[in-house]
Symmetry: C2
Subunit: 723 residues, 2 copies
């Protein structure tokens, strides 16, 4: 890519960004759009604009994003969003500090040397102006390389400093959230898995109660045994479906009561498949009937489930916060594959189906999933090419003859032929995050937030391996892989050789990411269009409209790995081609600003993990730093710089830093420190409602007072009754 096309691409991206920004400024102030641009505020019952519609300044949101405090962010979007902002902020800090020192020093140092020119004159190759500003322009064995070596040291130390500060900050934030005087149900419960099979005269519930009452005589409150809810859930969902249909039919009926037809038309539907066949019935009556019929069924099934379908997992509740912390960190059984305990996740993020999975089953599942992910990361191109090969025009015509009409038109044919192979790839890449999420849940992970972290890790490996390594080492990736396995040392020099060549590509890549990506993110064009379409054609009831604009959460599982890719790219090129630093700065500055806006006004968190994601981010930034240091070591070696071994202490230092951080901070993200859990609560917790919070909706009794009955239903099994 020469310099001109680089500028063109940059210019186009910027133009798109400006257009999207203007669109945002205009659209966000149109009436009716507040639920798309301010859903978080709407849901929290705040005025969307706070009387701001009068201010004509389209950039007011920037000022607002800046002036909001961290406490505002935590209040609006939880600790997780605040931690994500800290992550963006730390990387931004690293890049700004490094850029201020490195750019004025390294650009002249490399710009005034002549290596590229010399090579270009020798061969008949071309060179572009960007390459002149990179380390590639410095001649071999030149003492100028000292500047680059010191630059690497600088960036490393800045990274250490920022990461240390951020880790401490996040740790305090987490401790503050965990020790807040609000009563949170998950802080009074522990999750118990791998419950051994009960003796024949006891239900699992009774066994759990007696076990924990013996071990925690003074602090045990109650237990809730996980049940197999598949059947009861189906009935419950059926009822909910009829309730929705009923509400919709009532709205339709009310709307049809115009002045001309004061009685209106009662809506009807067919009872058969998809409402297309079968007898025609009055919808309102039909739904009411169905619900009336299903309710006793549900009740019977609820009782049966509670009594007979208890499984080998339970939530155990304690009457004090510190007691739950003490219990969650102590091994209970002498054989450690029984009665395993952990802190209970929030009720909303429990993955109920995974809870009863046994320890060894989880381990086996994890191994298999890891194997599958490894295959996907390394060999994902193979099935794609295979699918592309099958889905040629000819094959499609043969297999799906009804497509013939379309396929035979020349214009469509040309387009399809050009895009079909890419289509398979695009579909694969679009489905990948969901697939990785599915795989993570299949591991037997008990909570949503943990599954998100696991999926994020998997996506990170995929993206680093295929984008970063894929682009730099290029098509020779597989042959390179063989070399790496046989001669592990060569990876260093290989990265050193390949990196500089793709510097320009990544400059454009980063620019595209932030201009187009962030433009779309901020303007929310896609959700806006979908919302308006849905409101116009589909939604009838209030609930349905609300569902149409429901904002969703940040989606850390893909967002974080994408940011991590940029961190890795920018760090690795920071000294080789320092021009990438400003691009990185813009990426993370815009990212920070927009994420802050979205956190304050748009996204609504699905769960709260109190910043549990941070160690994950921290270790990946450090991994990027170490990759970078190793690459630089190889690169200095290629430049025949005899002081290259001076990189080694730095690499060792990075490992020591990682070790110290882990020792000092990590476990407090895995467990809750007792100190933190022991701070006083605002009020005496209502244990009954805490307990009720964990009852799954399909089993939940109508009133809080019925919770005792719920518990009784689990305890006293009348084995004589046969079902």
């Amino acid at each position: 890519m020469d310099f001109n096309s680089f500028l063109t691409s940059l210019g186009t991206s910027f133009l798109i960004f400006v257009v999207l920004m203007l669109l945002f400024a205009w659209l966000s102030r149109r009436p009716g759009n507040e639920v798309v641009y301010y859903p978080n505020r709407v849901l929290r019952g705040l005025d969307a604009w706070e009387g701001r519609r009068r201010t004509r300044n389209p950039f007011a949101w920037i000022q607002e994003a800046f002036s909001a405090t961290e406490a505002d962010v935590v209040e609006a979007a939880g600790v997780d969003a605040a931690v994500y902002l800290i992550f963006l902020g730390s990387v931004l800090g690293i890049l700004v500090f490094s850029g201020i020192v490195l750019l004025p020093v390294l650009l002249p140092v490399s710009g005034t040397d002549h290596n590229v020119k010399a090579h270009a004159q020798n061969s008949n190759g071309t060179f572009n102006d960007l390459d002149k500003l990179s380390m590639g322009n410095v001649q071999e064995k030149s003492p100028r390389l000292w500047a680059f070596l010191l630059g690497t040291y600088l960036i490393s130390f800045v990274t250490f400093y920022m990461l240390w500060k951020s880790y401490k900050h996040v740790s305090d934030l987490r401790a503050a959230a965990k020790s807040s005087p609000e009563v949170k149900p998950e802080e009074f419960a522990i999750l118990v898995r791998d419950i051994p099979s009960a003796p024949p005269d006891q239900t699992i519930k009774e066994q759990v109660d007696s076990y924990f009452r013996t071990l925690h005589p003074e602090t045990f409150y109650r237990s809730l045994v996980v049940t197999d809810n598949k059947k009861v859930n189906k009935i419950w969902e059926e009822i909910e479906g009829y309730k929705k249909k009923l509400a919709r039919a009532e709205v339709v009926y009310a709307e049809s009561k115009s002045t001309s037809k004061p009685n209106g038309t009662r809506p009807t539907n067919r009872t058969g498949f998809l409402g297309l066949i079968g007898a025609k019935v009055d919808t309102i009556d039909y739904c009411n009937e169905q619900i009336k019929e299903l309710l006793p069924k549900l009740e019977a099934e609820q009782k049966l489930t509670l009594r007979e379908k208890q499984q080998a997992a339970a939530l155990v509740f304690f009457n004090k916060r510190p007691a739950a912390v003490l219990a969650s960190q102590t091994i209970h059984a002498q054989m450690l594959d029984r009665w395993t305990v952990m802190e209970a996740p929030q009720p909303s993020q429990l993955l109920w189906k995974n809870l009863p999975k046994k320890l060894y089953e989880r381990e086996v599942r994890q191994s298999i999933v890891y194997g599958v992910v490894f295959l996907i990361v390394v060999f994902y191109m193979i099935p794609i090419s295979f699918i592309s090969a099958i889905t040629t025009m000819e094959n499609l015509r043969k297999l799906l003859p009804f497509l013939k009409v379309i396929v035979d038109r020349t214009a469509i044919k040309t387009v399809l032929e050009a895009y079909l192979p890419q289509l398979a790839l695009i579909i694969f890449l679009a489905l990948l995050p969901s697939f990785l999420m599915f795989l993570s849940k299949a591991e037997g992970i008990p909570s949503e937030s943990h599954a998100v972290r696991a999926a994020s890790g998997k996506y990170f490996y995929f993206i680093i391996f295929n984008v970063f390594l894929g682009v730099t080492i290029g098509g020779a990736l597989f042959s390179s892989l063989k070399t790496i396995i046989d001669h592990p040392k060569q990876i260093v020099s290989m990265l050193g050789t390949s990196l500089p060549a793709s510097a320009t590509f990544f400059l454009t890549f980063v620019a595209l990411k932030f201009f187009v990506g962030y433009g779309l993110e901020l303007s929310r064009l896609v959700p806006l269009i979908i919302f308006h379409l849905k409101r116009k054609f589909l939604c009838k009831t209030e609930a349905e409209v609300k569902e149409a604009w429901a904002p969703g959460d940040f989606g850390y599982a893909t967002r974080v790995p994408n940011d991590m890719l940029i961190v890795t790219v920018v760090l690795c090129y920071s000294v080789i081609a320092p021009l990438i630093i400003p691009f990185g700065v813009v990426y993370f500055a815009l990212g920070w600003l927009i994420a802050r806006n979205q956190a304050l006004k748009v996204y609504v968190p699905k769960y709260e993990s109190n910043g549990r994601m941070w160690p994950h981010m921290h270790s990946r930034i450090l991994a990027a730093l170490i990759i970078y240091q190793v690459t630089m070591f190889g690169f200095f070696g290629l430049k025949k710089f005899i002081y290259a071994p001076f990189m080694l202490p730095l690499i060792i230092l990075s490992f020591i830093f990682a070790f110290v951080c882990k020792k000092r901070f990590y476990l407090a993200f895995y467990y809750t420190p007792l100190e933190v859990a022991s701070r006083d609560l605002k009020e005496i917790p209502n244990l009954e409602s805490i307990y009720a919070g964990y009852i799954p909706p399909c089993l939940r009794p109508e009133k809080l007072e019925d919770v005792d009955q719920f518990e009784d239903a689990q305890s006293h099994t009348s084995r004589t009754t046969s079902f």
Copy 2:
């Protein structure tokens, strides 16, 4: 080594063994020797012989060792000894089971082939009859190799079975000991380290008290802050020294009162260096004076130490056993390098000096120690050769001229010249265990038993690397090492090539170990001689005599690695040269028998770690098994056996087995499961005496009632008093 010399060596060893056994049978029944042969029984206040002196059967001890139950062993020598016996028993079981199947099958299979003979005829080499019975005698690509492959599978599965059974057994044994109704001080305490520096208006003691009282309001009992006892200990030891001297002098004085001299001679001594110079004084008066003078000094220093020399570690006591368990497994502080907690070791095995060492200091120390151990293991020959080179005759004469008189005599000179180089090696090897123990303690380990385990691990690496690999790969070890590092795959084929050659050496080695080693162990010749010499020439008081026969403990730090070496050797040769199996069986059978005898009658455990050593032994047996499997894989490869890859599933299986064992059992050896600690106690524990048990002797008040004063002394610092 040819067959005849092998038999000769075997015969000699056996002869020595028989002589030692007869000596034991005779000596152990001589009056006055009971304290050497039955010290454990004497100390427990039992009759040494239980009226057995009449029975003339010199092998009664064998029958007694057999008939004793495990409970007897636990009672006499603790759980650790019982676990050591289980270790010997499991290995014995593995070898017996394997031998019964393998010997009748593999010996004929290899004995009837002709590989060795064929080779011997081709070259002009010699072969011995033993080699004919080994796998080396089977021809390449022979289908007979299937028998050896299946043999490897058999041994592996027998090992899995025995190890699983033993792990379960030891785990139960440990749980039984930990849940025993006896009150043990360590079960009510936790060890707290890395206490942050106290605010200026508080002592550390006050800080610890308020911290733990807040976090464990209902279960906290008291705390004992570790102090710097160096100075007070010195004074205390001085007093104890004078007390001993006094006792001795009084005995001497009493003995001198014969009928001829009714007043006796009052013993005297000189006050100067080593009692050689200085003024002559009456010992009894002098000691009394000194003690009287030192006592107030001690008291003042005690007060000062308690108040002003508090350090960053403490023992915290709880009023219930489960409370201590809960507290010991829960992280307390948000920053994890502060207030680290662990289960308290027994008072007797606390390494006080290591307790206040900070987390990072411990990590740094550990890294350095590991580095030093690595250097010792790999390069220990270098300093030895260096010392040998220096300590030649000529150098000795120059450096130590006073030795000239001895060195110049021809006879002595010849002997010295022959043995000096070996002498350095022997001294090094003799000092090594103590040095490794010193290194382990320098890591900052808090308890004696943990240090023993650490030293045992280090010694294991040394002995495996230098004896096992040293002998098999031989002098080419260092050049081999380079090959291994460059081409890691070659280690497999290298082991495969080198092992068979040294089979005969190891047969002799094992035989020597059990005949001579166990003979000496049982007959206790060395302790016997030392005891009699001491009693005759040194001991005056009862206490001194008791000290002279004090039996010591098993010395696991060297005993276990030595056994592990035999396990590794026997396992690795079990299929290659099955003849080693009977030797292994005899080694472990005799070992089991004699260790049982020693546990019941001789050794007195210094500490009780409740079988904490077992996971250490388990993982090393497994490691030996995996080394063995890898070696066999290489060996099959060398024999050009195309089914050699069938070994791979077995190796993977071994790793899975190790993983499952770790998941299921290990943590219960690291922590105490709550289930175990929650069983009822026999009596209401006397918390005051538990607390007093942890006060170091130099600070211990005279009476139990003074414990409160002791605690007060730590709490109320009068900062105004200046010292």
